[in-house]
Structures are given as C-alpha cells and as structure tokens.
Symmetry: C2
Subunit: 279 residues, 2 copies
Amino acid sequence: MWAIIVLIIFSLIAFFVTDNLIPKLKDLFIKAGLFGYDLCKVSKNKIPEALGVVSGCIFLVTSFLFIPIVFGNNLIDTRMFPHSEFAELLAALLSICCMLLLGFADDVLDLRWRYKLLLPTIASLPLLVVYYVNFNSTTIIVPIPLRQFLGHSVNIGFLYYIYMGMLAVFCTNAINIFAGINGLEVGQSVIIAVSILIFNILELKGEQIKAHTFSLYIMIPYLATTMGLLKHNWYPSRIFIGDTFCYVSVFLFMSCLSYKISYGIIFLRFMIVENYRCC
Amino acid sequence: MWAIIVLIIFSLIAFFVTDNLIPKLKDLFIKAGLFGYDLCKVSKNKIPEALGVVSGCIFLVTSFLFIPIVFGNNLIDTRMFPHSEFAELLAALLSICCMLLLGFADDVLDLRWRYKLLLPTIASLPLLVVYYVNFNSTTIIVPIPLRQFLGHSVNIGFLYYIYMGMLAVFCTNAINIFAGINGLEVGQSVIIAVSILIFNILELKGEQIKAHTFSLYIMIPYLATTMGLLKHNWYPSRIFIGDTFCYVSVFLFMSCLSYKISYGIIFLRFMIVENYRCC
C-alpha cells in the first residue's frame, strides 16, 4: 500500500507541475497557430487550444517514473517479476500514449473523420490483446426483461472485442460533444474519474484487489493532472483542451476498467453523465 | 518463421501506404503552418515539415496489427503465453510512441532545449526497466590498451543505465545534425537499419536467435516505412522529415538492440557513419 502513498505524492507534484507549466506554454501554442476564440465572450482574445497534450504528457511522465516504484520489490528478485501485470500496465500506457499522439495530430492537422474512426480502434489493439491473454471473458449479463428468452448470461465471443473497440470511439465522442462550454469536458471527466476512484477504494477489500489497485495506479495521476487542467479551463477559460484530452481520457478510463472489471461500468458512467446533460 | 513472412507482407503494404499517404497529407501540414523553405534551391516553394510523424504512425499501426500474428500460437493456449517477450515488445513500442509524440510536439511547438534533453531520458525508462528485469547485465568489455589496469571486463552497475539513457540523447542529435542536406538524415537511418538487419539475419543461426528475431520484428517495418519516406525526401526534397523522425529512429534502434545484444553495436554504427561524414 506504500506504493499508493508514493503515487499520491507523485500526483500532487504532477498537479503543481501541470498548473505551472500550462501558463508558461500558452504562448508557444498561440505562436504555433494552435488557438481559438471563445465565441460567447465579449473579449476576442486568442485562447490557446490543445493544452490537453500538456496534462497528458505529465500523466505519462508520472506513470513512467512510477514504474520502478510499483514493481520495486520485484526488481530486487527478478525471477518472481510479475510479467503479466507489467505487460498490462505497459499496454495501457501504450494505448494512452498512442491516443495522445493521435489527438494532438488531430488538433494540429484537423484530420478527416475517417482517420478519427480508424485510429482509436487500432490504438486499442494492445489493450485487447492483453485482455484476451489475461482474462478472455466474453460473457455478458443479459438484462432482466430478456432473460426468459436468452438466459442469465450469453457468451458473445469475438463480438465482445468489436464492442470494446467501438466503445472507444463512442466514449471519445461522448466527451467531445461537450466542447464549447467552458470546463464541461474536463469537469465531466473529473466526475467520472472520482466515481471510479470511489468504486476502486470501496472494492479494495473485495476479491478483485489487484484489478482495483491497478485502476488506482492509473486514476490517481490522471485526476491530479486533470485537476491542474480544469483550473485553467474553468469559466472564464484561459485555455482550450482540444481533442487530445477527449481521446486520452477515454483510453485512461478504458485501460483502468478493462482488467477484470466490467466494461459495462464505464458505459454506465458515460450514460449517466450523458443523460444528465440531456435533461 | 512464417511470422517473418507475414511481417514482410505487412511491411510492403506499409511502404505503399506511406508512399501514397505522404503526398495526400502534404497540404494538411502546410495549412497547419508546418513548412519550411529549401535554402539551397532557386525555387522558394513551401515544403511541408515533420512528415516523419506519418511514417512513424504507419510503423506503429503495422506493429499493432502484427502483435496477434507474432503471439498467435500462444493466444490459442494462453497459459503458456510469453509475458516477458510481450512486455519487451510493448516497452519498445511505448518508448517509440512516446518519442513520436515528443518529436511531433517539438516540430509543432519548437520546444526549448531543456525539454529536449529531459524527455528522451524519461521515455527510455520503460526500456530500461525491461532491460533490468530480463537481463540486468551491466558488465562492459574493457578496450585492449586498458586491460592491463582494469582486467578483461568491468561491472559498472547503475552507471550502465545512465549510459543507456544518455545514448538516446546522443544518437538523436547524431541523426539530427545531418538536417539541411536532402535525404541525408533518412539515408543514414536506412543504412544503419540495413546493417542491423544483415547482422540479425547472419546471427539467426547463433545462440541469441530470440533476440535477433525480436530485432527483425522492429527493423523490417521500420525499413519499409523509412524507404517510403526517403522516396519523397530524396533530392530534390518534396518534404522535410522534422525532429520527429530523428527521435523515433533512435528509439527504434535502441529498442531492437537493447535485448541481449550489446548497446555498443548501435554506438559503433553511429560512430562509423559520423566519422564518414567528418572525412
């Protein structure tokens, strides 16, 4: 459990670094032509765009520095090194890094929609392979009204992987659709992250302690860097976050929930926030 | 060995995709302000910059699609899944993806030198952890004139990891220093890649067959995508490759040589090309 304490310290540092770095990098983004105007404001100042890449990079750096801490005990006696857990973490970070790259490329180059659909699906491939190797549970629980026809659960096999790939595309757009209202995209992500964190902490005494600890490893630094971003994106916004943030957030949620915890949970959380928006 | 044949087919497709995609994306890069002028030419056309990100992304996609192929047999019986080899591949791809992101961010934002020094070191962390866990050989062979004082080999311990981290920074600049002469940065990388490929093929019958096969998995798609890039970067250049390519190439070379094969080999290759340049 001391690894979690170290991670909280790392995350606090990450929060302060994000908070301090964003104002310093603003001019670089404006100089590179990455800016927009806040349409509903009287002032027509240039507001730097795509700052989500900064919080994403700081998240990655924090996670890289955390690797030797979380696997510290096993590094002393490498024969017992938990390769499968290490591969899980690497696959999650790889998918996140890949989406960070794609998101930033999208912000800079304004990619066409066909690339936007294709690349998240490909970026989720390392996650899916790890899921297949470690768990390969493709059984879904049937909703109560349909149980008299289909039974309690159905194994949908390969379709489950297509569902997971498609979920990445859905969730990206579910966050992105909030664009235009100051702080709402980041705010939604903070709420989802906090709800996942509470869920993980409550479940730490349950059977799936490893899966929930893994989720904490990803969610704690994410929440810290996102709070740093939210501070500057809060009304009146001094920065815009760009597509980068949407892509990265989704893959973070997917990574931390993909292992032994149902994908249904992430879907449910998005649905709750989306319905709240519609009301 | 059939995995290598599939990889060659994938790589050929990757070459044609790179070759076709670069002209199509040129205008997007110019529109985003990513362009330069060829100073030694009479014509003052805008030449798109940072196209190395395209070949880098296609390399990543090829590698992602190749994951189920290379671990195909083990996916059927997941109990025997080679987690350590999977972690090696993921760590290599993570470092490469991270440098692709940093390189592209550098091209877009023109980062200060302190970030340029810091981030490659951090990006090499997953590689170093994998090296530590799987091999942890920090013994170096002493050059012949010094052997009477130091013996045949010296274990330099932790300093070896600092050396590997620093090597990433050195090699990046060793490629980048060629910037300004059409096709030279990419040309050098192709020559180094071919020399590593020949070395791997010659050593396939030796003791380290796994390490050299791993290196082939990385080098074959890299060579294909880089050839696609070279075609457009060849004199007279229609594209510039940007810092992205330098960062990515170095991490590719480091990844494929870090496992059981000495880091000295990459150093030697860079030294040969650098000396040739100086002559």
